[in-house]
């Protein structure tokens, strides 16, 4: 089992993830041609201006008004993306398989980043449960997606701390990680891919057409 999940399954997950992202990207570009306003209005300058204001914490008004969400979501996304990429255990797996490695986080930093992701997920869950305007637009898939995103981190922490049988926990951890990767292109987790483009278009329309700010 371990051989399967740590070998072929990881391959499958990455192949599905990458090809799914490419598919979504190409589909978006094609349908953007049909949406006649997109290419004519796109502007690099205003796309970057908009991205800048929405990728720097507190650079937009809503990020300042909802500062607690800003802090948590920035930490959440940074730890969620960078944590796994620079985690010692992950890099060690690659090093064993392929013989090359890259800069790693310290063990402690990796653990803390994992805990941040878990706590942030909890925050997002509570927010969803407690705020009427979010509860109103929540359906079961929202909880599921949050669970899918949090699961690799919860199981990763459990494996690292050896709370349960190590071998089993690692297997569950790899499966949850693979599931998340494979689902990114095909669920709302695809905002990972679409974010720069929706932002860029809105920035362009506000900047180049409407001569106004969008932050």
């Amino acid at each position: 089992m371990y051989e399967f999940v740590s070998g072929p399954l990881v391959w499958i997950a990455f192949i599905v993830f990458v090809s799914g992202m490419v598919y979504q990207f190409v589909t978006m570009l094609r349908s953007a041609r049909k949406d006649k306003v997109i290419y004519p209005y796109m502007s690099l300058k205003y796309s970057l201006r908009s991205l800048f204001h929405w990728m720097i914490p507190f650079a937009s008004r809503n990020m300042r008004d909802r500062y607690e969400v800003t802090i948590v979501t920035f930490l959440f996304h940074i730890c969620l993306i960078l944590g796994p990429i620079f985690l010692l255990a992950h890099i060690a797996m690659f090093a064993f398989a392929w013989g090359f490695k890259w800069q790693t986080l310290s063990q402690v930093a990796g653990t803390y980043m994992t805990i941040v992701v878990i706590l942030a997920s909890l925050f997002l869950l509570l927010r969803r449960l407690m705020m009427p305007e979010i509860q109103f637009v929540t359906d079961p898939s929202d909880y599921l997606l949050l669970a899918i995103a949090a699961a690799p981190f919860i199981t990763g922490l459990a494996a690292n701390q050896q709370w349960f049988d190590y071998q089993t926990t690692v297997i569950v951890h790899i499966i949850t990680g693979a599931v998340m990767l494979m689902l990114i292109p095909f669920t709302r987790l695809s905002h990972m891919l679409f974010f720069p483009f929706t932002r860029a278009y809105m920035g362009s329309e506000f900047g180049a057409v409407r001569n106004a700010r969008d932050w």
């Binding site: 306003v37 305007e133 679409f194 932002r199 409407r210 001569n211 700010r213």
Partner: protein, 442 residues
């Protein structure tokens, strides 16, 4: 969730239409619009929204209705589009009626929410897709549809006939000449520097505004014209009902009227939605990247007249003023700064509202909502309590609103919340403060 019931409003445009609809008819239209009229924006927006609710605080309807989640931008999308996508082929007529109420009467498509969505999802555009579907099924509030019918038949919003139009202009020219000897309203003059266009309510109910502009043009010695023929009305309610074919015709007539007269540029009167239609919604539909000839809003024009000294200010306006920044020219065209500059040049005592500029709240009337007529007035005024509070805090006596929809909407808010304030167009301020050389006085 124990939310209060939404008051039932009777509107023949919805109540009668609902009787003739079937799930099959609805499915046909929905599939056509979703499959062939929408593309990347619609599809990516629907896939990207993570239901985070961060757009909620942008909406004056949400803020004014005790943070009722049904009025948040994403809440409105959920109640309409999510359902439409989920059960495309089994949508009942009563549901479509709800869609029209939400999209036509409870959203001003002001685009404030797209500035609050972290992804920059154009939620107003999504609600416009709902309006489009409703309009294709003739599910449009009756008063709004009547203005669209008028556009379609007469090329103006208020059933103004050509002889009435010309007659009104002549009448206002007479009035203006009574004040300023050289005031004229030149009709169909070829090659003028300015083609001036107004919305149909001006000749219909606010004719003195045309007289005012005749005086301003005379004092500033502007070479201008207005057309005697269709295309003079720059308003466009079809843009808001979802009847984009009619919207396109109206915009084409307006631009072509100016082209026919070989005008150097179009100056549009103080109206926000009209500017939106002429500057981007119309061109977008017509496949033009930009309008064919330069087009500016009155605020831009007055700014030019004042800063170049063609209009001099004799005395500043003394009464305390604040401003209603129309979404379609401030969030929609970045004219906020110029608007402030002309106010600073003409008014002594100005208090800005908070929030302001692009972040100012919508008046609650734009986006075709006020055009849905008296049946929806109560919910419209209730839906903008936050604006009443914002205006009251400025302690101003006069609210300068360079937009017709804002003007009427703010009037309703003033009376609804007993604010004891008054609304003025910028041109009305200008009329009181501009210097009129003695040799021009009648």
């Amino acid at each position: 969730m124990g939310l209060p019931a939404i008051p039932i409003v009777s509107d023949p445009g919805l109540d009668e239409t609902v009787k003739g609809l079937t799930p099959e008819k609805i499915a046909k239209v929905v599939n056509r619009i979703i499959d062939s009229e929408t593309a990347a924006r619609f599809k990516v927006y629907m896939k990207t929204c993570v239901h985070c609710g961060l757009c909620s605080d942008a909406c004056h309807w949400f803020l004014s209705n005790d943070r009722d989640p049904r009025f948040s931008p994403v809440g409105k999308v959920k109640q309409t589009l999510w359902e439409i996508i989920k059960r495309k082929d089994s949508l009942d007529p009563a549901f479509l009626k709800e869609c029209s109420r939400i999209a036509h009467t409870e959203c001003n498509v002001c685009r404030r929410c797209s500035m609050y969505c972290p992804f920059g999802i154009d939620i107003a555009y999504l609600l416009m897709v709902v309006r489009r579907i409703c309009s294709e099924l003739e599910m449009v509030p009756q008063f709004l549809q009547d203005t669209v019918n008028s556009h379609s038949v007469t090329m103006n919003q208020m059933w103004v006939k050509q002889d009435e139009w010309i007659d009104t202009l002549q009448w206002q020219e007479e009035e203006a000449k009574g004040e300023i000897k050289t005031a004229r309203i030149p009709l169909d003059k070829e090659g003028a520097d300015v083609f001036y266009s107004v919305i149909a309510p001006e000749p219909k109910i606010l004719a003195q505004l045309i007289g005012n502009i005749a005086q301003i043009m005379a004092v500033a010695k502007v070479d201008w014209t207005m057309p005697s023929f269709d295309g003079w009305d720059n308003s466009n309610m079809a843009m808001y009902s979802g009847d984009f074919e009619t919207m396109g015709r109206v915009e084409r007539y307006h631009h072509e009227a100016a082209l026919k007269l070989k005008a150097r540029r179009i100056v549009m009167g103080e109206c926000g939605h009209a500017f939106r239609g002429a500057a981007y919604d119309g061109p977008k539909w017509l496949g033009w990247k930009q309008p064919p000839i330069p087009l500016i809003h009155a605020v831009d024009f007055y700014h030019e007249l004042i800063t170049t000294g063609r209009i001099k200010i004799a005395r500043k306006f003394k009464t305390p003023v604040t401003v209603q920044e129309p979404c379609n020219i401030v969030r929609g065209r970045g004219l906020g700064k110029k608007l402030r500059e002309i106010i600073a040049a003409t008014c002594e005592d100005f208090t800005p509202p908070y929030p302001d500029f692009e972040h100012n709240y919508c008046c609650g009337a734009g986006g075709g909502v006020i055009n849905c007529g008296p049946p929806w007035k109560t919910s419209r005024v209730k839906g903008n309590e936050v604006k009443a509070k914002q205006l009251a805090e400025t302690k101003a006596k006069i609210i300068i609103t360079p937009c017709h929809n804002c003007h009427s909407g703010i009037e309703d808010i003033i009376s609804g919340y007993k604010l004891g304030m008054h609304v003025k167009f910028f041109s009305e301020i200008l009329m009181e403060v501009m210097e009129i050389p003695d040799e021009l006085r009648a």
